[in-house]
Amino acid sequence: MAENGIGASLKRKEDPRLLLGKGSYVDDINRPGQAYAAFVRSPHAHANIKSINSTAAAAAPGVVAIFTGDDMAADEVGPLICGWAISSKDGSPMNMPHHTCLAQGKVTYVGDHVAIVIADTQEQAKDAAELVEVDYEELSAVVGTADADAAGAPQLHENAPNNTCFDWHLADNKADVDAAFAGAAHVTKLDILNNRLVPNAMEPRAAVGDYERSTDSLTLYTTSQNPHVARLVLSAFFGIAPEHKLRVVAPDVGGGFGSKIYVYSEETACLWAARKIDRAVKWTADRAESFVSDAHGRDHVTTVELALDGDAKFLAMRCSTKANLGGYMSLFSSAVPTYMYATLLAGQYTTPQIYAEVKTVFTNTTPVDAYRGAGRPEATYALERVVEAAARELNIDPAELRRRNLIQPDQFPYETPVVHTYDCGDYGASLDKAIEIADYAGFAARRDQSKAGGKLRGIGFSNYIEACGIAPSAAVGALGGGVGLWEAAQVRFNPTGNVTVFTGTHAHGQGHETAFAQVVADQLGVPVENVEVVHGDTDKGPFGMGTYGSRSIAVGGSAIVKAGEKIIAKGRKIAAHLLEAAEDDIEFTDGNFTVAGTDKALNIGEVAFAAYVPHNYPEGVEPGLDESAFYDPLNFSFPSGTHICEVEVDPDTGTVEIVNYTAVDDFGTLINPMIVAGQVHGGIVQGVGQALTEGAAYDPDSGQLVNGSFMDYTMPRADNVPSFNIDTTETPSPLNPLGVKGCGEAGAIAAPAAVMNAITDALGTENIDMPATPEKVWRAAQAAG
């Protein structure tokens, strides 16, 4: 292993520039002569647009141009898209509404885009946007997930009767599952809500569209998790420019969490407008805009039931969910509550039969899309809450009930009843380790101690599984996905022996520049400081699918390894020639090509130099040492683990304090344990935020987002959470060359159930909905006496 290769907690290469204030985020970029955009947004949740009068706004100081949906339609800008087609139970296709970049005729949520106003300065654009007179015919709004398909509910889209997008199930086995329930010794049932979350990456979304008339080419600087996909969508679907005339740059991006996957109206309009006015157009969201215009996450209403036999073995599970899509569909909004959700309901257990049905509904709210975990936190929450509830009803220790139903290490590959085949794992090992670290044995004494101090203490488990490394292209296609989800890489030796690596993934906090360099250093025996990883620019490196779903190391990292293998293979030919040996006799270790059994060797740097100065060179071999690879994964990867949360509740106020949080995760091989731990910490706090503090609240009548700022939307702060006890177990995935599984979402997936199981344990109540705000907890404590 190379020094600072795989397994080393190498300090990040990204850090010096970010710590010195020298990062380059989109809002840091100014283009010569740029103008600034502001958007006219709907103040109403649901309205017809009768007319738009921009005369006064156009006369305001500094105004350059004002465009509406009609202007974009005249240029035949295509509608915004959803990338995954889902069919209903009856086989009918989903009802996807027409979603124009700027509204035409109708708005369906507060913040919906009505017009773009472009002026010389940002403040002038905002001043003028207020002068655009829009005559709205207000309509009744529906915001609640449960009410959206009720008779008489206001209808959002003509092609979506009863506000229903699709009514899907997995799979056609309801009768069998019902029969299993009928014969069960015990059934546990829970009605739960999975609250709507606002992603709130700390960097607000931003875009600079730039146009070069002499070449008729466009450049978009944008806060994207997937710049190549953004270019594809902007070109193929929206028709802004052909791909070869469009460059998309996602430089340093300040967090994504799924919210920067979607290709939104704002960046599309800025890019399109740049050509219209022959001038760069810049837009940066203020936080109030982020709250209403960044795709939200989750928002499910679910009934989940678990059937158990007399030995408390799981017999079957039924899960019925209604998922809120918001006003329109988003890029992954159909896949998240279906194939990213129901397929994970087996969890870590041997439950033989599962039936899940999901109805998706439109409401007058901000569109919903992937948010850290995307479907898998919802599945884990439903499953781990009902398992914990069953344990309490049956008076079985919750750890014991789980242990009794775990898939065993010798059962892999394990085919679940809900599509997936798990690669590997040792779920009992993480459960045992977590129990030890959390000192589960000492909990009873700690609870007594809390009680003596007037506090209520509770403990909760969450055994999670996730499907990461999205995904095998053929499988994705078979399930309705519109793209392949392979990844691409290019490993370029420079003549002087250092290496530039291009990846189609995109890092926005995950540390790819460091971790991917470690992979290359390890594989090719090059010092890690001699490896530079480049990403985020469609003009640099191969087309790639981007970063989401904890896919980057499993798919993108594997692509790099594949390219590295080609480098070694070619280097072997060159080295054999130079060392006057047979190619089969050349061994490659630690960066050296050696003739087996001799001390004759060439370093890979020397081979690279020879490849670029091929004076003495093997016949038929191309010069240069620069290889590309595409990697299409064989399967998803399946990280897993056990999280245990311990809380103390103040029954006088309802305040919940997390006093102890333990996470033991199995991510397979760890490339950089320091970075992995950081991902876990951050994920846990997002999960804790969902459980305790966060939740978008809409006024049911007006459809206004009630908590649309940090003054009212409770973000977790440093003093809301403790330090965490985290550890890992390791079962390397047999399905990719690195043995990795992905670690980006685990914390957010596991934490909500662990926290809520702990709170309900402390209170002795069956259920309390997220977020468990002080008042809710206080009321539950009062009711529980």
């Binding site: 990040r12 850090d15 809002d27 700390m202 967090g255 910490h681």
Partner: protein, 155 residues
């Protein structure tokens, strides 16, 4: 437009601003010191924290004209000759940053914290960072970084 003058990172600077120009806008747009970020509109997130006359303040909640004559230090002013200062180094050593967007404000707040409280315990650190939001790190490693920095900075 009025002219504002101040000292930023030890250098005398001045520029024309609108009356409504915020200090953070002056730093970012007039001086192109883009290390100071804007993450909210309500003075909650702390991405814009700089030091004004030695105290940490939110540069999004102060007019540029209010800083007339002031000594301002931004994230760009901490390092000398490109070398990370002890707080910056501690953030790097402890993986106290991921996407880096909150980091400049977080570091500036942490500098003020340690200056006024050289031996902070974990609870003190967490309480004193309440004006800085981070969505990536879960704060765990930020707290560790501040602890390390407090030690190396002679607490």
């Amino acid at each position: 437009m009025p002219t504002v003058s101040m000292t930023v990172n030890g250098q005398a600077v001045s520029g024309e601003v609108e009356d409504r120009t915020l200090l953070v806008q002056f730093l970012r747009e007039n001086l192109r010191l883009t290390g100071t970020h804007v993450g909210c509109d309500t003075s909650q997130c702390g991405a814009c924290v700089v030091h004004v006359n030695g105290d940490s303040m939110k540069s999004c909640s102060m007019l540029a004209l209010q800083a007339e004559g002031a000594e301002v230090t931004t994230i760009e002013g901490l390092a000398s000759n490109g070398e990370l200062n002890p707080m910056q180094q501690a953030f790097m050593d402890n993986h106290g940053l991921q996407c880096g967007f909150c980091t400049p404000g977080m570091v500036m707040s942490a500098m003020d914290l340690v200056a006024k409280n050289p031996n902070p315990d974990e609870a003190t650190i967490r309480e004193n960072l309440e004006g800085n939001l981070c969505r990536c790190t879960g704060y765990h490693n930020i707290v560790k970084a501040v602890q390390q920095a407090a030690k190396t900075m002679g607490g």
